[in-house]
């Protein structure tokens, strides 16, 4: 399509074009999940240290109360997402397989907000885009920290750390990541359509906190409505909207920075080191809410989509709601469902159960049906080099896989295994159906020794 469009949009080198299948949930406005009777709030939803529980069993909590506090610099507090009574601390299994302590809360009958009111509470409110100048950087960071803000784009890195100033490498650009290049996922798209102002306000606050000169929103050309809505809202501000040619994994921050700014992040370094901070659009909206209205992060938009779900939707869900509740809200599984994936189909983890809680990092639940996955058996690598052609990090995935299989750490290191972002492009194109990403994960552990 982009071949015929008059504008040739920017993008990064290599990568793949998986079928987008966004149509399933693209036109579903965000709906609010009816308050579940019970939520289970994991004390670790982010990259960093586990939180310390601050509530006792049978204690009554309000929506927004702190239930776990951060005890280390790289950590973020967690909050109650409903009003209710704390139960006995348990363990929850996160989608990535980790067992972490969690606080269950039995929701009260009476919730402060429900339905549209809840949506209004989370994403409504007025954000004066030209009246934010008075917020001090420390205030912003402090608010982000207290609100338990972590990246909503997937990595769930505590946001206040990202916003901390750096002396050696001043930040010049703040990027808002609205790519959402994973197939099926449409939550960010919807959010940009209905709540552009909080997003932009978050961007401006991020700018204030980091001292960046520019704020740019990166968004793929396949989301025309979101682009229009953001453009409208951004009128009169200095925020730029940069439209990108759709390609996976554009949303990966290294790729995004390469596509938009033509900068390469040295391996082992962070965007900060090249003077860039990347925030997911959802994170930006939550930042604005935390700073301007002092509200913690208690809810997020989750896309429930895929050929294995009866009624694909974008759902605003409280953190700690179980996957089962979301799936049932969306009509339940179809009989041909074969994979339940936390996140999108390219990078997400499969679950063997629906009893996992939604966390701050849950961008979607993808239920794939028999037809959508190809489960051809694995055959030997024919060294065709297709994986090499698509690897956005310019690695040689076939050698990484071989090295992992053979337990050859030296080979893995020689091929820079640590640079892999596990985007899955290589495995996507591999004609031999090698589980390259899985092998590379094994290889990374091996190479570190």
């Amino acid at each position: 399509m982009s071949v015929f469009s008059p504008v040739v949009h920017r993008t990064f080198a290599r990568g793949v074009h998986p079928p987008e299948r966004k149509g399933l949930a693209e036109n579903c406005p965000i709906e609010v999940l009816p308050c579940p009777s019970k939520v289970v709030i994991p004390l670790l939803q982010h990259l960093g240290a586990v939180c310390l529980a601050t509530v006792k069993p049978r204690q009554e909590v309000e929506m927004g109360d702190v239930v776990g506090e951060a005890t280390a610099p790289v950590s973020a507090p967690v909050h109650a997402s409903v009003r209710g009574k704390v139960g006995r601390a348990t363990m929850a299994t996160l989608p990535n397989g980790r067992h972490v302590p969690a606080i269950p809360i039995d929701a009260a009958e009476e919730q402060p907000f429900a339905g549209d009111a809840l949506f209004e509470e989370i994403y409504g409110g007025d954000y004066p885009l030209d009246g934010l100048g008075h917020y001090l950087p420390q205030t912003i960071r402090q608010a982000a920290r207290e609100a338990g803000l972590v990246g909503l784009g997937g990595a769930a890195f505590p946001t206040h750390i990202k916003l901390a100033p750096r002396e050696q490498t001043p930040i010049d650009t703040l990027l808002l990541n609205g790519c959402e290049c994973e197939p099926y996922l449409t939550g960010d798209d919807q959010l940009m359509q209905v709540a552009p102002r909080p997003i932009l306000a978050g961007g401006l606050l991020g700018q204030l906190a980091t001292g960046a000169q520019r704020v740019v929103v990166g968004i793929e050309a396949n989301k025309p409505r979101a682009i229009r809505s953001l453009r409208q809202a951004a009128e009169g501000t200095d925020i730029e909207i940069c439209v990108l040619r759709p390609k996976y994994p554009q949303g990966g921050e290294k790729q995004l920075i390469a596509a938009m700014l033509h900068r390469e992040i040295p391996n082992g370094k962070l965007p900060l080191d090249v003077g860039v901070v990347v925030l997911n659009v959802g994170t930006a909206a939550a930042l604005a809410r935390a700073v301007v209205r002092g509200r913690p992060l208690t809810h997020r938009v989750v896309t429930v989509s895929g050929g294995g779900i009866r009624r694909p939707a974008n759902v605003l869900a409280p953190i700690g709601a179980s996957y089962r509740q979301l799936v049932e809200h969306c009509g339940g599984l179809r009989d041909n469902a074969v994979r339940i994936i936390a996140g999108g189909p390219m990078m997400g983890f499969t679950l063997g159960t629906l009893d996992a809680p939604v966390t701050k990092g849950t961008s979607g639940i993808t239920i794939l049906s028999e037809r959508e996955v190809r489960r051809a058996g694995e055959t030997p690598c024919v060294r065709c080099g297709r994986c090499v052609e698509v690897c956005p990090m310019r690695l040689v995935p076939t050698k990484l896989g071989l090295a992992a299989r053979a337990g050859n750490a030296e080979l893995a290191r020689r091929h820079h295994i640590a640079a892999c972002v596990e985007c899955g492009c290589c495995a996507y194109v591999c004609p031999a159906q090698l589980p390259l990403v899985q092998l590379i994960r094994v290889g990374k552990v091996l190479a570190r020794k």
Binding site: P380, L402, A403, R405, A406, N408, L411
Partner: protein, 246 residues
């Protein structure tokens, strides 16, 4: 010019056509034993090339002046000692023993010299030096030089002996480095169990030897071509007729 061309011919011949390993089967032990990793294999190749050249220098000297039939030195001693000038002295029966000691001495010498004056070089291939003493590739080079000195119609000079040694060493390095690259790959292949290790290495060497046979005749035609070009500048003068016209 002719000398250069004939040296080229000897060099090409020793390096790729009559490759020491793949054609004459000498140096098989290091070829199979020290070809697990490319770096070590290359180091071994360099070490062998080095030692082989020194050994060729020494053994040519010994053979030319002492060991070949009609060599000047023993003849002189014989006459000085009052022997009958008509009987020639042939010490070639001592050749093998001499060569073996020449090789052992070269290895010792090279090791000492390199350690003293080129420590970085020593670090990179010094460890292989002692392994080389019993390497037949080096003795083989000495024997080839002997063969070409014993035949009075060939009577190689030092330059020819050194070219053979250098060509042989380069060919050895080429073969062992290629082999090492392949073996690193083989470690990751699903080779049938009985063939793992030496079996598959030999089969690979066999295929490599087949591939190298493609060079048969290259030394001769390159030399011929160069001769034609340098002699009269008229290319493709051939003393043969062709009955088929295209």
């Amino acid at each position: 010019m002719d000398t250069l061309i004939s040296l080229l011919q000897i060099g090409i011949g020793a390096a790729i056509i009559n490759n020491f390993v793949l054609h004459y089967f000498v140096g098989i032990c290091p070829f199979l034993g020290v070809s697990r990793k490319v770096e070590t294999a290359f180091g071994m190749g360099c070490a062998v090339t080095f030692v082989i050249s020194i050994a060729a220098l020494l053994s040519w000297t010994f053979t030319y002046f002492i060991l070949r039939p009609g060599a000047p030195l023993p003849g002189w001693v014989w006459r000085v000692a009052g022997g009958d000038p008509a009987t020639s002295v042939d010490l070639s029966v001592l050749s093998y023993i001499m060569y073996i000691f020449v090789i052992a001495a070269s290895v010792q010498f090279v090791e000492m010299y390199v350690r003293k004056f080129f420590p970085p070089l020593y670090k990179s291939f010094g460890v292989y030096l002692p392994l080389i003493t019993t390497n037949c590739a080096i003795l083989f080079a000495c024997l080839e030089i002997m063969k070409n000195l014993q035949d009075p119609t060939r009577l190689w000079g030092l330059h020819e002996a050194l070219t053979l040694a250098l060509g042989g060493g380069v060919g050895f390095t080429l073969a062992i480095t290629l082999m090492a690259g392949i073996r690193e790959e083989l470690d990751m292949c699903d080779v049938p169990k009985p063939l793992r290790g030496p079996g598959i290495s030999l089969l690979t060497a066999g295929i490599l030897a087949m591939a190298f046979m493609g060079f048969a005749g290259v030394d001769k035609s390159v030399a011929d071509a160069l001769k034609r070009l340098t002699e009269n500048g008229t290319p493709r003068v051939e003393h043969r007729t062709l009955n088929t016209e295209y």
